[in-house]
Point group: C2
Chain length 470, copies 2
């Protein structure tokens, strides 16, 4: 490996790459777009040496080989909507953007699969599935911007994991370029395929540190024909756990969301953000239960009688059933109001943790008390995808600027409790650089050593997205 240190030599290498990849493929200097200097995570942007935008796997392989030969670190970039710095470059790095590798290659209706290029925005995948009479169930707030390759590299989650699983469960095959430029093509469409190691799982959720995904075979699902939703109020968390069990039993595989909102979250959303509550005010925990069915005439009465049974058993303090799509939207507005927190709360810090379902409320109470005790004026609010073991929380000290929020002290309290309760420091957002120092709170030394063994085996020169995750 020759490490290029002079500007003139660097320029020559990039000029050579531009000649081979064609016009528009290599951007340098002032041509580097601002968007390629950062992802959505809260950190200062950094301008890469160049942005390289190949058109296919061969172009990605060529870029990796050239960069490897001269010692340029490479960061893969999709829609750049990550929240942990996984796609952020450092100065002197090459940003390899998949933005020109976008499009649907095939819909195979018999296999219920879709083959897409990795740079395709999620929303375009959703729309193409819909047009073909199917559902692609992954859904995130950033659907218009995030790329399917980034969804795969971060193992994206979202609201309907309880029914359809994470991105990992939605991928059947992929094409990936290894750090040495080897192209691995396995566009498998089979649910069952035990011919040797299932290599795709190495690349799903490893945040672009082991290879660059260039094409993906996705699973498609039948379109639900109706959606039912209820907003429930319960007296305590034990009853929330009982409601989850009842939803699993009574709604079976139709259950598509189970979102819990703690009283502090509810207060922020209904009193400060002004979202209208469909249930009576007062203390309690709030749960949005959603089910998707195949026949409105059958599934709506079933949902309503299930809920009536729970009211008769006095499991619920109160409940509102959506009577229209507008009602469903209104219920989700309560849960989605967290997107308005920058305006409502001002500067705050967001967390995405994993905990066993039975430990959520214990965590929320202890965390709130510990933050209040250790950080004068610190407030916090709790909500999340409880059926998946995923709790979100936001913390803030009113009146402090973003840079002045005591994030290190908050991190220490929150991740300390996560460690004590055997949880995860990242349920769906990943590790990137921003959570790396806390990885040892969720994974053992032996696990982290094995991650490093894998990284060294696949990327011995350590030039693919170095310093991310491990």
């Amino acid at each position: 490996m020759n490490v290029i240190t002079t500007p003139a030599l660097r320029q020559q290498v990039l000029d050579d790459l531009r000649r081979q990849l064609g016009p528009g493929a290599v951007l340098v200097g002032d041509d580097v777009p601002a968007r390629n200097c950062n992802d959505w995570s809260p950190q200062a942007p950094r301008r890469p040496l160049a942005v390289v935008r190949p058109l296919d796997a061969a172009g990605v392989a060529l870029t990796l080989k050239v960069c490897r030969s001269v010692g340029f670190p490479v960061v893969p970039q999709g829609g750049l909507t990550g929240l942990c710095g996984g796609a952020t470059p450092e100065e002197g790095w090459v940003a390899l953007s998949l933005e020109r590798m976008s499009g649907i290659e095939e819909v195979d209706a018999a296999s219920a699969t879709m083959t897409v290029k990795a740079g395709t925005p999620l929303e375009r995948v959703q729309d193409a599935a819909d047009a073909a009479g199917f559902l692609f169930p992954l859904d995130l707030g950033s659907r218009g911007s995030c790329a399917i390759g980034g969804n795969l590299s971060t193992n994206a989650g979202g609201n309907r994991v309880i029914r359809y699983g994470m991105m990992r469960e939605l991928v059947l095959g992929l094409e990936v370029v290894l750090p040495d430029g080897t192209i691995i093509t396995n566009l498998n469409k089979l649910l069952k395929n035990n011919a040797g190691y299932d290599l795709k799982h190495l690349f799903i959720g490893s945040e672009g540190t082991l290879g660059i995904v260039t094409r993906v075979v996705l699973r498609l699902f039948p379109k639900p024909q109706c959606t039912m939703a209820a907003l429930c109020k319960l007296a305590d968390y034990d009853r929330v756990v009982a409601l989850l069990a009842a939803a699993r039993r009574g709604l079976g595989p139709l259950l598509s969301a189970f979102e819990v909102m703690w009283p502090d979250y509810w207060q922020v959303v209904t009193e400060r953000a002004g979202v209208r509550s469909p249930v009576a005010p007062g203390d309690g925990l709030y749960v949005l239960v959603e089910a998707q069915g195949t026949d409105e005439a059958i599934d709506r009465p079933r949902f309503e009688s299930w809920l009536e049974g729970l009211m008769e058993q006095e499991l619920l303090v109160d409940a509102a059933v959506a009577q229209s799509l507008a009602d469903i939207d209104a219920f989700w507005a309560l849960r989605d109001a967290c997107a308005e927190f920058p305006a409502v709360l001002g500067p705050h810090v967001s967390y995405d943790i994993g905990l066993a379902v039975g430990r959520m409320d214990d965590f929320a109470r202890r965390c709130k008390a510990a933050l209040e005790a250790a950080i004068p004026g610190c407030d916090s609010a709790y909500y999340g995808h409880i059926g998946d073991g995923n709790l979100h929380l936001v913390t803030w000290v009113p009146g402090l600027a973003a840079a002045a929020q005591p994030k290190p002290a908050m991190d220490a309290i929150i991740y300390g409790l996560v460690k004590e309760l055997g949880g995860s420091i990242s349920a769906e957002h990943g590790i990137g650089t921003l959570k790396k120092q806390w990885l040892g709170h969720a994974r053992s030394e032996a696990e982290i050593a094995l991650m490093r063994t894998l990284k060294a085996a696949l990327d011995p020169s350590g030039l693919l997205n170095p310093g991310k995750v491990v």
Copy 2:
């Protein structure tokens, strides 16, 4: 590494191990049980140097360290029901059996998980889930004998993959001992956990070549409250594909099995095995459709009206709907009659391949013709889990003994067609030793090289189940 060559020194090492692991842990010579000399695959048994039966992960780690220090290859063994030689020892190897590591450690109802030791038989897991009010959906013919660790190591499938997924989708956490004796404990219960690489997927489906799984956290599901089934007859394969699409749309996530039987299979089962057909005789393809619901009063009429709609559309030539559990058993008897093939067909060869749904019938027709043309008198029959892309077939030349069946010629024709049609040489049984020579028909050189890179990274001394898979 000292390679022990003299019998006296080998004996000393094993005596030391027996002292450390306790009485009953190390069996040698005539004490080696016959069952530990082979799995269920068709090959000659081989007696290992010793059978070691630790009680926990620490005992597994000690065994691996001792064997590594003296150069003994180690094969992990669970229920020994594999069909590809993955758990078969060679002479001079140590068989590390998990048979004394059996039992349910915990059922966590709130998280809907169960933590079990890896040597626990599948049926015991199913029964424990049932007793706790849940379903563990994996189900195989060998349920009474196979161990959950072996189900994990082979990524077992079975009949209800279309609804619940393979074993891979049913595992949330595991404890595994690496070839160097490092114990990795990640008994994760969360559906969402993106804190670093998801290491468990390395060990699922890698047939005990990368580590030995000692404990497993399994997902539990709500118990279905009712089961509906229909046996359908269709005029051609295009209609079978249309029926699958209609089942996905109309039954949604209730669809729990979609088993297709070709005319040659049907003829063997109804005419030679004498299983009663619930539909009229004559040419056609036969499909067993099963759905599981949450409420019999709602789901049974839904199933029946869905089927009536298909009859009105003339998609089906004929259909019988199960009116009782006995009827459901009778329908499954047609599909499960393949277990009687040794008695019905005499010596034959079984295959387990993966194909895109749209290519199944093309494969069946071409394969049958190619076998007949190349091998005088060769007959074959086709059936499988079509919704999962999994086709089974059996081939036989009537009157020839098992050893005289021209398996190499059959293999070449069948796996050649699999390669041409972009399928998999193993949908659910794995590779082991018996399918290893054909791995290149389903995976590229680059993929196999990456598998070898992983094997070398995790097992640099190459002593854990060497020569299996890659």
